[in-house]
Amino acid sequence: MSTKEKILIVEDDLPTQKALEFRLKKDGYIVVKASDGLQGKELLIAENPDLLITDLMIPFVSGLELIEFAKNQLEKAIPVIVLSAANQEKIILDSFNLGADDFMSKPFSPLELTVRVKRLLSKNG
């Protein structure tokens, strides 16, 4: 029996977080969520997720720091999708330089996101 993949959502905008959670749960994933970077960091260690979806502008620990942490300081490097309203070229480049696997700018299509999630998980699985 295959185990369900766990996805960590770090998003401070609660309605968007809830919408994402609902959409991903419908697709059969286990969803863990955090509203700030600090909580996200803790959950990265405690929950050992298979994929991280993070906003860049989040309280306490920025999304860029979280990407760096997820890529370099965890036992296994997990795929990261960045979801941000900040769609400046420099920020996108910084995210990719730190190891982000994908970038989606807000407003985003939840359907498109689920496709990207599926693709990344199958690539890493």
């Binding site: 905008d13 609660l14 309605p15 968007t16 809830k18 919408a19 609902f22 959409r23 419908k26 309203a85 769609n87 807000k106 407003p107 985003f108 299509s109 939840p110 359907l111 498109e112």
Partner: protein
């Protein structure tokens, strides 16, 4: 505010408390057939208090016993007195004294009269010292009289007694004056008490208002949180459930919106609208369309329309924002009218909303632009445009040739944001504009949209004394150079202006092995102290 009111109130209460607590005392000499209850009635004082004040074990009194009566200052006792009454009391007492003295004389009770007389004088003096205003409903002449006419006088000492009587008369005069003075004092005391009462009521009212407002805010915040969670759940379900997957659940969630069951009260509906706006900002595609359908299904557009006609400008501005966000194009005509509003916020918000609503030619208004667009307005416009399909946005090259500075700047920024490379030659035409603002925008645009063929042009403009222009040119050149010329930047590091030199040093980051070159320069003792310091700054990643 409430704390200050409390402090003032307690201070005044303390003052008045001291005032009210001031006590006066007098002596009452028990007369024939006088019992404690009668005395208590005279002074309006409880029997147990009289017993306690005099340290008496029983209520048994004997004629001639002296009782200490402690009364509160400024009491009604004195307020009820009038000068005439006192005079009358005084004269009556004088007659009584004379009669008693005659009787006593005939009875031959002279043994202890001298002593009593002296005692009376002591009593009078004592009472004179201690007797101060107190209150009671009535004054009994005898009670005051008794205080002084107790002594029984020997016949042989009548002359002395008449002197004592004279003293007594003086004593009453003193009392009368004291009463009148205290009558005035007690009026002030009453006024203070009245002010304190008013302040007390006011403070209690303010505290009640403060507390109730606080509790109401807490209650409302909790209610909002509870409702928001409910709205999020219902909305999420309605957004992402599909008829094919679970028809029953889908119908239930949709029925909430069809029957306007989610939010009925106006405040609840406004919370729901906020949630819609929040989600609409983040979501696109099918979900966005679905979101809009649900919005209309719940007839939330009615609320928006009502707010659009509000007299409060901020309510109106919010409604305009909501119309733009939810793409409610049926309000376009009303929004167009609002663009000429005297309120600048409303006018610009309307303009911005028109940009969002007009999908064919959102920037049509620029043709008839009357007021210059400030930085904030340009930023908002560009942000609003970023959410539209850029292929449908018509760009008019005439904007770049306009005599209006803000329009040219906006047009250049628009080209940069939407990568309009095809307009670079039109942009370059403005490089020698009389406006420095336009010049800087052109240089920035060349750096982003241009190519290395523009480098010579940029270098030719380097002969300038304006630091901001020079910095812009260096940045643009560093972005365009295919084969970077490190000597060009090295020369610029020598620039007297610190910021310009720092920009030149930082340009090494775009050169292959540029960082190594900077490290060498930092260690090179042949370089000036100034250059080494600037290079050290450029190498500091924290900056």
């Amino acid at each position: 505010m409430a704390r200050i009111a409390c402090a003032v109130l307690f201070f005044l209460m303390g003052v008045s408390f001291l005032e009210v607590q001031a006590q006066d005392s007098l002596y009452h000499v028990v007369q024939k057939e006088e019992i404690l209850s009668k005395i208590s009635l005279i002074y309006n004082k409880r029997i147990d208090r009289i017993l306690r004040d005099n340290q008496l074990q029983s209520a048994q009194l004997e004629v001639g016993d002296t009782l200490l009566i402690i009364l509160p200052a400024g009491s009604k006792y004195f307020l009820s007195l009038k000068k005439g009454e006192i005079t009358e009391v005084k004269s009556k007492n004088t007659d009584l004294e004379k009669q008693e003295k005659t009787q006593e004389k005939s009875q031959g009770e002279t043994d202890s009269s001298a002593k009593n007389s002296k005692n009376a004088q002591v009593d009078v003096q004592k009472a004179d010292q201690e007797f101060k205003p107190s209150e009671s409903n009535e004054i009994d002449s005898s009670s005051v009289t008794e205080n002084v006419d107790q002594p029984k006088i020997d016949e042989s000492e009548l002359e002395e007694e008449s002197g004592v009587l004279q003293d007594n008369t003086n004593f009453y005069d003193e009392i009368t004056k004291t009463i009148l003075r205290n009558n005035h004092d007690s009026k002030i005391a009453h006024l203070v008490i009245l002010i304190n009462l008013v302040l007390l009521v006011f403070t209690i009212f303010m505290l009640l208002v403060g507390f109730s407002s606080r509790f109401y805010k807490i209650y409302r915040a909790k209610k909002k949180k509870r409702y928001s969670e409910f709205f999020e759940n219902v909305l999420t379900y309605a957004l992402f459930s599909t008829e094919e997957e679970d028809q029953k659940q889908y119908e239930i969630s949709i029925s909430y919106f069809k029957n306007e069951r989610i939010a009925k009260k106006r405040i609840e509906r406004s919370w729901l609208i906020n949630l819609f706006i929040l989600l609409h900002n983040d979501l696109v595609g099918e979900t966005e369309d679905h979101l809009q359908k649900l919005f209309l299904m719940h007839r939330l557009d009615k609320d928006v329309q009502r707010n659009l006609h509000s007299k409060k400008w901020y309510v109106k501005a919010k409604a305009i924002h909501e119309i733009g966000n939810m793409q409610l194009s049926e309000f376009s005509t009303e929004i167009k009218k609002s663009t000429s509003s005297q309120n600048k916020e409303i006018a610009f918000k309307s303009l911005l909303t028109l940009v969002q609503l007009d999908k064919e030619n959102p920037l049509a208004f620029l043709k008839n632009l009357e007021n210059p667009l400030n930085e904030w307005q340009q930023l908002q416009l560009l942000n609003g445009l970023s959410k539209l399909n850029e292929t449908k946005i018509t760009f008019d090259v005439e904007w770049l040739q306009s005599s209006k500075e803000s329009l040219v700047v906006f047009a250049i920024r628009f080209c940069v944001q939407f990568n309009k490379h095809e307009f670079i030659s039109d942009i370059i035409k403005n490089i020698d504009s009389t406006s420095l603002r336009i010049q800087l925008e052109v240089i920035r645009a060349i750096g982003i949209l241009g190519d290395d063929s523009n480098i010579e042009l940029l270098k030719s403009k380097m002969i300038t004394d304006i630091p901001s222009k020079k910095q812009g040119l260096i940045k643009a050149i560093s972005l365009l150079q295919m084969e970077p010329d490190s000597n060009f930047f090295k020369n610029e590091i020598q620039h007297a202006d610190f910021d310009t030199a720092l920009v030149a040093a930082k340009s090494f980051y775009s050169i292959p092995n540029g960082i190594e070159e900077l490290e060498i320069m930092k260690m090179d003792e042949n370089e000036s102290e100034n250059v080494r310091s600037i290079v050290a700054h450029a190498l500091d990643r924290r900056l």
